[in-house]
Every structure is written in structure tokens, then in C-alpha cells.
């Protein structure tokens, strides 16, 4: 298999899979059976799936989530989305150069009626919210159909290699995301009233109360009494020249390829956006052996949890706040990126541009609710609910509460006596949805004797596993709330069990042990990256909380605790003066020098806004300046939003241009959304393929 395969991962197990052969543009290549075709192609070094019929621009992976159509290829003669198509031995796959041809399959085909099924509840989306809601419905015996467009349940939990924040008691804090998905899915399998269809995509809701689904290649109509939309979120995009070059894509797409599909899709990346998604993606990149040149955030400070930012800084990734991306450069794919400093009015400061050679730019500038089903269903008077990110963008732990709450509301609306919905669920959900608080610090105790945890957690976030896990009950939450800062009560003492070090999702707790040698105490640092970098005897650079180098220290011992799989506890002896400052092991020591100014002044109007139809910011701006205030009219004139994805990506970017032009969005008529939300072959509607499937 190619070098782009991740054969070892510090956290994820690499499963044994069956190797198969398929053809790409006439050449035989290998992949794993059942993996998504896009990832099989990327693992073979294919970054370009075709060229756009309008301007021959190269098309690379973008959403990796079935939402756009950038990964379109011709498979066995038919245009398909490679990110949603499992690989089968012998597939004949070609790039789409210009328009695909409709193959001349002219034999008469048998058609069949489309099966229509009734169900009490249809849940769209098997992520944390949909799973949690289905569990509540299952516990009450409600006939429920849970669908998910991927081949396994868990939604984006599947991609999360890090340990979750939140509370241990009711949202699996301290457990890694992909495990939570597995736990919930397993629990669900015990409830007979819940039927699960994976590989099933909701494609439209209709005014007669039916929901259209594609289950594999078959079309089904479902008539639910209640509909729950728990379809999650999609990534927002940015407008900059070069923004559709292959190699520019969402951080979520990146996590999908790297963590779900175990493909090392790039060598060197730059991340735009310092929210949790961007910070975590940086961490995931390093775990996958990908160099992170830096992370750019426009605001004066990162928006994500400080512990995530600290983890990244400690690994050696520069975080440039007050910066933006100016342009991505390259002919057929990203070759470099220019960033620059912003002034107080968000304008690029001339002369601060720096260019870095990277092959990938990850965009992590926020998420948008996948709520089109919800709005359409409501317009059609279907009794519809929403949960998780479809309802409000927040952490997965909040989505679990929101799913449980909506699940109970649905059960109640079906006439079941569910009693009172626990009021603390709502409270907890709201806490988990809360934005991180200001930075503050509780100093560790002054003593330099015995053993004690040192807590580098300086921001109020909803998280308490350290407090829950301590056998002595010595770690308290300030103010007794889950968002309070944790502090160590030296009165109650520490036994040096390392539980708090192992469980902390932020890797923000170390242990300093003076008992053997008060002058050179043993420091235990949590570590989740490459084991061979911290072999016993090796000298490793140790950093303080802010990424400052304290010195190089010899690794004495590496401890792992089966209760905290994936987290290594690296022990080294340090001078007592710096022991409490140590926060992590510096991994990525190479700091990239910028490769000089990019010579050409890029025009922001070159940026592509509608990537399906290749419509630029300049074209949209011109139409707006011509007086257009109706997004439908804008679409008619420019074609923006008329492509495959149905404006999923460009709508917010168009709205932004309206605002840039000084137009109040209240004056602007929003576009009319219509089914289908995902393209479906005509043959599926005709029931081609028979009625052998219920």
C-alpha cells in the first residue's frame, strides 16, 4: 500500500482490511474494500478528481461528507460522489473532465412502485444528538427509524480521537469521541423498536408529509408521525483567491480522511481558524504525522478552548492571532499560502504578508446548521423537531443532552407519559453550549515536597473529569460548578495515582513528585502523539504552558494506564525551579520560515463564491451593485447557488458580500430552497432495480 496510508497511529487502531484492485483512468491501483472511494484515490496520490466544465479548473476533495459534488468521478460509467461510494473490487473509475456522458444503456428497464412506510419517528442523523434521541425513544418502545448517510453510526464522533470535555457522569467526559459513538451505537442495538438504516440519505421532504430517502441505490418514501432533524452541521467557507484549489478544504473533511479513513492526505498544512475545530484538527494532523506550519486566527485570541490551543503550542505549532489568509497559490493544487496581519479594522496591513509552502490549507472558520430539512418540514406542516448542531452549533456533549431532551419531547408529543423532562438536562445542555470564559489562573500550591498535580487549566470551560476521577477528592471545581476552574486542595493530599493526568481531555494536568529527590522531582507529562519520540533515554524538549522551552530532559519512564488508552504519561526529572512549569513535550521542532512575499497582489474578487457553478465574488458584487436585492434574482442572473450543492456553501458567503456592500440583510430576499437536497438518479425514482428490498 502507498505511503499515504497511516499504518500506525498513536490513538487509533489500524484495522486489518481486505485489499482490492480497481482502475483509475485506466491504471490499476489498490485500495481497501468498503472504504470510501475518495480516500482510496487520495491514498494513491490522486488529489484531482476532474476538471470543471466551465473553466477547466481542477476539482479536489472539499466536504468529504456527501454535501458538495467536488469529488464527482465516473464509476462504472455513472457519475457518483466518490466520498460516499464504498470501494468494490474491479471498479472502473475515471476523472470527470468537463461534463460526464450519459452512457448509452438503452435496453428497456423494469420500473417499480416506490415503497412507502409508516413510522412513528424518523430521525435523520446518527451522530451524538440522533443517537441520544433514539435511545430515549427506544427505552420507551417508540417505533423509530434512525437513518445516517454514512456506513456507521456516530456522526462526527467517529472522527474525534481526543478525550471529551464535559461531565463524566452524563456526557462521557474523558472518553475519546470515537469510543462514545461506539458506546451509544451499541446501547441502541439493545432497543428493538429502533430500526437503524446506515448508508441512507434523506434527500427531500414533501408537502404531503413524506420524506424521501436513498437507502443505498434505492429510493424509499417514509411517512413519519414525527420527524427529528439531527443532521449536524456543515463547514463554512472563506472567500479568498485560490479558495477552490485542490488542497483547500474544511478541517472536518480533513479529520474524516485522516482519522476515519486513515489516509495521510497531506505533508504540510496551514490551518485557518482558531476555534476548537481548527485547534483539534491541528492536533489530529500531528498525530497523523502531518506537519502543521501554523494556525491563523483573525481575532486577537483563539476562540476555542485554551487547553486545545496550549496543546498545539506545546507541540511547536505557531498560532498567529490577528492574522488572515490572503490567498492560496498553485496551478493544479495548493503549493503555497500567503497570510498577513490585520489592523484594527480587519484590513490587511501592507508589508506583513508572508508566504508558506504548504500542500493543504484547512478552513475552520465555523460551522453552519444543517437545517434545511427542518425548515422545509415546518413549511410543510410536518411535526418536526431538531437536535444537536442542526438546532444550535455546540460541542458534541451538548448535542447528547439536546438529543435526549428532544427525544423525550417527541415521546410526549406521541401521547406517552414520560413524566417531567429532568430540568437539570436543560441546564447542563446550556452549560455545555456556553462559550469559553476569560483566561484566569489558580496558582499551584507553593510547597515543594510530597507529590501533587499541577493544573494548567486557566479558562472556564464545562469540564470536570479531573475532579470526578480523584480518589482522594482533592481536586475541586471553583464555585462547585462544572465550568469552574479546577484547583488542588493540598490539605486532602495526593497519592500520585496519575488518574487526573491520564483523564484530562485538555492534557492540562501534570504531576510533580518530590518524594524521591526534592531537588530533582519527577515530572509526569501527558502525551498523545508518537511513542517513538519519547522512548526512554531520549532527550526531549520540554515546554511551559505557553510554549516556552524550559530545556531538554531525559525520558526516565513512560507509563500507560489501561483506563486511559492512548494517553502516555512521560516521566522525567527536572530541576525543582522549573518542575511545576513543565506542561508538555515539544514535538514539532522545525519552525518554517516564510518563503518571501508573494509577488502578485491578489484580487479578492477572484475568489470563488459558488464553487459548483464557479461564480466569483466579483460577479456577485457587480450584480449587487446593479441593484439586485433578491437572492433568487441573483441566482437567475449569475447562477450562484444553482449547482449541485444547492447553495449549501455559497449562501453565507453571498450574504457576507451583501453586508460588505453596506446592505442590510433585512432588505435582501433569501433564496427559496427546494427539494432535492442531494442529487438522486432518475432510475431510483422509477424503482429501477426491482422490489426485492423492503
Amino acid at each position: 500500500m502507498s505511503t499515504r496510508r497511516i499504518e500506525h497511529h498513536p490513538i487509533l487502531e489500524v484495522p486489518v482490511r481486505k485489499e482490492v484492485t480497481f482502475n483509475w483512468n485506466g491504471a490499476a491501483v489498490n485500495g481497501y474494500e468498503g472504504e470510501m472511494l475518495s480516500s482510496a484515490l487520495i491514498s494513491n496520490g490522486v488529489d484531482i478528481f476532474g476538471h470543471h466544465p466551465k473553466d477547466n479548473s481542477p476539482q479536489g476533495i472539499f466536504c468529504a461528507n456527501g454535501q458538495c459534488a467536488q469529488c464527482l468521478v465516473i464509476c462504472n460509467g455513472k457519475p457518483i460522489k466518490s466520498c460516499m461510494t464504498p470501494l468494490i473490487e474491479g471498479m472502473e473509475v475515471r476523472s470527470v473532465e468537463g461534463l460526464p456522458e450519459a452512457p448509452g444503456e438503452d435496453a428497456h428497464v423494469e420500473t417499480h412502485d416506490i415503497p412507502v412506510s409508516d413510522v412513528d419517528v424518523l430521525v435523520i442523523g446518527g451522530g451524538p444528538a440522533g443517537l441520544s434521541a433514539s435511545l430515549e425513544l427506544g427505552k420507551r418502545g417508540v417505533s423509530t427509524l434512525l437513518i445516517d448517510d454514512k456506513d456507521r453510526l456516530g456522526g462526527k464522533l467517529v472522527l474525534q480521537t481526543h478525550k471529551f470535555f464535559g461531565s463524566v457522569k452524563d456526557s462521557f467526559a474523558g472518553t475519546r469521541g470515537y469510543h462514545i459513538g461506539e458506546i451509544l451505537a451499541h446501547e441502541l442495538s439493545g432497543h428493538d423498536s429502533v430500526k437503524v438504516w446506515t448508508g441512507t440519505t434523506a434527500v427531500g421532504v414533501f408537502s404531503d408529509g413524506l420524506v424521501g430517502l436513498m437507502k443505498g441505490d434505492r429510493y424509499h418514501l417514509i411517512r413519519p408521525k414525527k420527524l427529528l432533524v439531527a443532521a449536524g452541521a456543515r463547514e463554512r467557507m472563506l472567500s479568498f483567491p485560490g479558495n477552490t484549489l485542490p488542497g483547500v478544504y474544511g478541517a472536518g473533511a480533513f479529520q474524516t480522511i485522516v482519522n476515519r479513513d486513515l489516509v495521510r492526505c497531506s505533508e504540510r498544512i496551514l490551518i485557518i481558524g482558531g476555534g476548537n475545530v481548527g485547534l483539534i484538527a491541528g492536533y489530529h494532523a500531528i498525530q497523523a504525522g502531518i506537519e502543521v506550519v501554523g494556525l491563523v486566527e483573525a481575532l486577537p485570541q483563539v476562540g476555542g478552548y485554551k487547553v486545545h490551543a496550549d496543546k498545539l503550542s506545546r507541540l511547536g505549532v505557531p498560532i498567529w492571532t490577528g492574522h488572515t489568509i490572503v490567498a492560496a497559490h498553485g496551478d493544479e493544487r495548493v503549493e503555497s499560502v500567503t497570510i498577513a496581519k490585520l489592523d484594527d479594522s480587519w484590513k490587511v496591513i501592507k508589508g506583513t504578508e508572508r508566504r508558506f509552502e504548504v500542500d493543504t490549507v484547512l478552513i475552520a472558520v465555523g460551522l453552519a446548521e444543517v437545517d434545511e430539512f427542518f425548515h422545509k418540514a415546518r413549511e410543510f406542516n410536518i411535526d418536526v423537531f431538531s437536535a444537536g448542531d442542526s438546532q444550535e452549533i455546540a460541542e458534541a456533549s451538548a448535542a447528547m443532552f439536546s438529543g435526549r431532551i428532544e427525544g423525550l419531547k417527541i415521546a410526549r408529543s406521541l401521547g406517552l407519559d414520560i413524566g417531567e423532562i429532568p430540568p437539570e438536562w436543560n441546564e447542563k445542555m446550556e452549560i455545555l453550549r456556553s462559550k469559553p470564559g476569560p483566561i484566569k489562573k489558580i496558582e499551584a500550591p507553593d510547597d515543594e515536597q510530597g507529590v501533587m498535580p499541577v493544573i494548567h487549566c486557566d479558562q472556564e470551560i464545562p469540564c470536570n473529569p479531573c475532579s470526578s476521577v480523584c480518589p482522594k477528592g482533592s481536586i475541586n471545581m471553583e464555585g462547585g460548578t462544572i465550568t469552574g476552574l479546577p484547583w488542588f486542595d493540598s490539605e486532602k493530599g495526593c497519592i500520585g495515582c496519575l488518574s487526573c493526568v491520564g483523564i484530562c481531555p485538555g492534557l492540562a494536568i501534570t504531576l510533580v513528585d518530590y518524594r524521591d529527590d526534592p531537588d530533582r522531582p519527577t515530572v509526569t507529562l501527558p502525551y498523545e502523539v508518537w511513542r517513538d519520540e519519547v522512548e526512554v533515554g531520549k532527550e526531549v524538549p520540554v515546554l511551559d504552558e505557553d510554549g516556552g522551552v524550559l530545556g531538554r530532559y531525559r525520558v526516565d519512564r513512560v507509563v500507560s494506564d489501561p483506563r486511559f488508552p492512548g494517553t502516555l504519561m512521560v516521566q522525567l526529572k527536572m530541576e525543582k525551579g522549573v518542575a511545576k512549569k513543565a506542561a508538555g513535550v515539544w514535538l514539532q521542532e522545525t519552525v518554517r520560515d516564510p518563503s518571501g512575499l508573494y509577488e502578485k497582489e491578489p484580487l479578492p474578487d477572484e475568489a470563488i463564491i459558488c464553487r459548483c457553478e464557479r461564480i466569483t465574488a466579483g460577479e456577485i458584487r457587480e450584480a449587487i451593485r446593479g441593484g439586485i436585492r433578491d437572492m433568487n434574482h441573483l441566482k437567475a442572473v449569475t447562477r450562484a447557488g444553482m449547482g449541485s450543492c444547492g447553495s449549501k456553501t455559497c449562501r453565507p458567503m453571498i450574504q457576507r458580500i451583501f453586508r460588505e456592500e453596506g446592505i442590510d440583510l433585512g432588505e435582501v430576499t433569501d433564496r427559496t430552497d427546494r427539494p432535492l437536497f442531494v442529487e438522486v438518479p432518475l432510475g431510483a425514482f422509477a424503482g429501477v432495480g426491482g422490489d426485492d428490498d423492503g
Binding site: P53, A69, G77, K78, P79, G98, L99, P100, E101, A102, P103, G104, E105, D106, A107, H108, V109, T111, D113, I114, G204, F206, S207, D208, L210, G212, Y219, L221, E379, F380, I628, R629, D630, N632, H633, K635, A636, V637, S644, G646, T669, R674, P675, L676, E679, V680, P681, L682, G683, A684, F685, A686, G687, V688
Partner: protein, 384 residues
């Protein structure tokens, strides 16, 4: 009072927008009022874009020949690409009755100068590669017909009208027509009053509602039809294909491949679905898809992108209602297009402008006689 005009057009749609061009170009001070936010946001954007002169009714044939002239020469005259394509129309036939019906109207079609013939099955299979040949008897082919983008065309009409001095008021609802002494004096909207001796009723499905404000009952009754468009694929056929056969729950259906390679299609529900509900149903796609892949199996792999539902402002006999109202002077009906407003509107625009400026030409009479709101409503046109 918010202004005085020579003409007020109610509706910036398939009929109102091109009519505004003709009026404004003739120097007539015109105001177009539409409740929606921009041109063509009513039924125009629901049209699939077919434009044919191959009807059986002389008035429609004459009007649509003029429309084709306007569509086909638009880019040359004004520079806007409206995606006009002269792909023709074909009506393939599988039943003897359809063949004789189509053959029986050929003489009148030819008399009015249409380029149309009944061709054999081989020719049909040549122009629609992959079509089901079982029982295929041949069909008509009229290569001068074609299609254009309703979205681009109406934007072009709107811009040309504005350039020629016409004013458009959007997001404004006409509440009633104002009459004085039995004559039109203007309109009142939710924003104010406008004076004008002439009001053109181009309100399509809402004509009945509009005219009822002055006690006129115009027999327009909307019914709804759904349409859809696919992803683009390399173009492999040019004409609009109309299958006249009935199917379960439907009469004819029709489709073509537009200039961008997308298949656009529509079906006629049977019985009709009357009303103004424009919300998409789950019935349409399975119903039409069976018929599409039955007629042209290779469509099966092409993916449907978007579905919509639009209204046909139906008249009692399937032909438009165009002419001066005989009870209220100054009210000019241009409505009841029965789903053909896009192909008929531009052809009518010149006649309407001449009616307003009292410069009618003798050739206009075939249109005005045929579309008269006071005609006797007999049976349906053979080729509606």
C-alpha cells in the same frame, strides 16, 4: 397619489416583462407593479423553457412565431445571452390515434408557415438517441422551435425595459383597480395610488382575484404542475420531446436537454390539481421518472437536482385571454396563458403595445380574434 402613467402593468412575469419592453420602446410611460421582490418570481421561473410555434390554433401559431423571432434575435440585438437554442420539438408517437391526430393538423400548421413534418421512426431515433423503438410509429419534428432560459430571458426583458424608461415597483401588491365613471383610472396598492388610463392584467394565476376588485369575472383558474431539472451531462439530444400518451395519474409529459446539458422535465397531472398550492409533493418524481426511463432508458443514471411546482393559469379552453374588457374601458386582459406564458408573452407584447397606442395592424387580428376573452369556449385545442 404616487405618479401618473400611460399604462400600468400588473405582474412582472412572462407576459408583463416583455410587454413592458414593447411599451417602453414605443415611448409609452409605463409602470410595472409586482408583489414579488424581482422579475419573474411568480410562474415565469417555474417554466421549463420550451418555445414552439407548432400549435394547432392559428392565434397561437402566429404569436409564437413572433416569440421565436424575439428570442432568437435577442442576443444579436441586445447582447444578453438568454440561452436560446433552436433544438426543435418532436412528438414521437406509439399509437395510431396520436399519429392521425398529429397528421390531421399538419395542413393548418403548414398553411401558417411552420417548418414541420411527420417523420419515420428511424429519424426520431436519430434525433432522440436511445428512444424506445418498440411500437414507435414516427412522429412530428419541427426543427425551428427551441428553448431559452426563462431566468435569463426575463432578466434581460426587465433590464431592457428599464433601459427604455419603464419603471418597476417590486414588493408592492395591487389591492384594487381604480375606476371612475366606468373607466380605468389607476390602481391602489398597499403603498399608495397610481393613476393611469390603462391597466394591463398580466397577473396570471391571480387575474381573477385582480379583476374581481372591480366586479369583473375573468375565467382564469390555476392548476399546478411539477417540474424538475437534473445535473448536466454531455448533450446527446436537441429537441423538446413530448409524449402524448397518458399514464397512471397523468396525461402527457415532456422534457429536453438545455444548453448546459441539464434535462428539464414536467408532467401534466390527470385529473388536474386545481388551486394555488406551490409546494412540492412526493408524487411527482416517481410518477414522471417511470415514464422518462420507459421512453428513454439512458436517462436512468442522470441525477435529479431540483424539483419545483408551478401554476398554470388555465382558461376554459386552453388558449390565452387577450383583449380589451368590454365593460370597463382601459382594462386590457393579457392572461390565462395556460402554462405557455413564457413562449407566448414576447409574441404578444407587440400586439399589446399597438392596442394601447391604437396602431393595430391587420395581421394582429388573427391573434386577437383567437384569444378574445369573449370568444365561445369550445373544446380544447388539439395540441395544447
Amino acid at each position: 397619489m404616487m405618479g401618473e402613467y400611460d399604462v400600468i402593468i400588473v405582474g412582472a412575469g412572462s407576459v408583463g416583462a416583455p410587454t413592458a419592453v414593447s411599451l417602453a420602446e414605443a415611448g409609452i410611460k409605463t409602470l410595472v407593479i409586482d408583489k414579488r421582490p424581482s422579475p419573474g418570481q411568480g410562474e415565469n421561473k417555474h417554466a421549463i423553457g420550451g418555445i414552439r410555434a407548432t400549435h394547432s390554433d392559428p392565434a397561437k401559431i402566429t404569436t409564437c412565431k413572433r416569440s421565436i423571432e424575439i428570442f432568437s434575435s435577442w442576443e444579436g440585438r441586445h447582447g444578453d445571452d438568454i440561452e436560446w437554442t433552436d433544438g426543435g420539438y418532436t412528438f414521437p408517437v406509439y399509437r395510431e390515434a396520436d399519429e392521425s391526430a398529429l397528421r390531421s393538423i399538419l395542413p393548418i400548421q403548414k398553411e401558417f408557415g411552420l417548418n414541420i413534418d411527420f417523420v419515420g421512426p428511424d429519424r426520431i431515433a436519430e434525433i432522440v438517441p436511445g428512444i424506445d423503438r418498440h411500437d414507435l410509429r414516427g412522429g412530428t419534428f419541427s426543427p425551428d422551435d427551441g428553448s431559452a432560459s426563462p431566468l435569463l430571458a426575463i432578466s434581460a426583458f426587465h433590464e431592457q425595459a428599464v433601459r427604455s424608461g419603464c419603471k418597476f415597483n417590486f414588493k408592492e401588491r395591487v389591492e384594487r383597480i381604480i375606476t371612475e365613471k366606468g373607466e380605468v383610472a389607476g390602481v391602489r396598492t398597499d403603498k399608495g395610488e397610481y393613476r393611469s388610463p390603462v391597466v394591463i392584467d398580466a397577473a396570471g394565476p391571480y387575474s381573477r382575484e385582480l379583476c374581481s376588485t372591480i366586479g369583473i369575472d375573468i375565467p382564469v383558474r390555476p392548476d399546478s404542475h411539477e417540474g424538475a431539472i437534473t445535473e448536466p451531462v454531455e448533450r446527446f439530444f436537441s429537441p423538446m420531446v413530448v409524449d402524448l400518451r397518458p399514464g397512471p395519474g397523468s396525461k402527457n409529459f415532456y422534457f429536453y436537454q438545455n444548453q448546459r446539458g441539464q434535462i428539464v422535465f414536467c408532467i401534466t397531472p390527470d385529473p388536474p390539481i386545481y388551486g394555488t398550492d406551490g409546494r412540492e409533493t412526493s408524487v411527482f418524481l416517481p410518477q414522471v421518472a417511470k415514464r422518462l426511463v420507459g421512453l428513454l432508458p439512458r436517462l436512468k443514471n442522470i441525477r435529479v437536482r431540483r424539483v419545483w411546482r408551478g401554476l398554470y393559469p388555465m382558461s376554459p379552453d386552453g388558449s390565452p385571454l387577450v383583449g380589451w374588457n368590454e365593460e370597463v374601458k382601459g382594462l386590457l386582459h393579457a392572461t390565462g396563458m395556460c402554462g405557455q406564458g413564457f413562449m407566448i408573452g414576447p409574441g404578444l407584447s407587440g400586439v399589446l403595445a399597438r392596442m394601447v397606442s391604437e396602431r393595430q395592424q391587420p395581421e394582429d387580428s388573427v391573434i386577437l380574434d383567437g384569444f378574445s376573452p369573449y370568444r365561445k369556449f369550445g373544446g380544447d385545442e388539439a395540441l395544447r
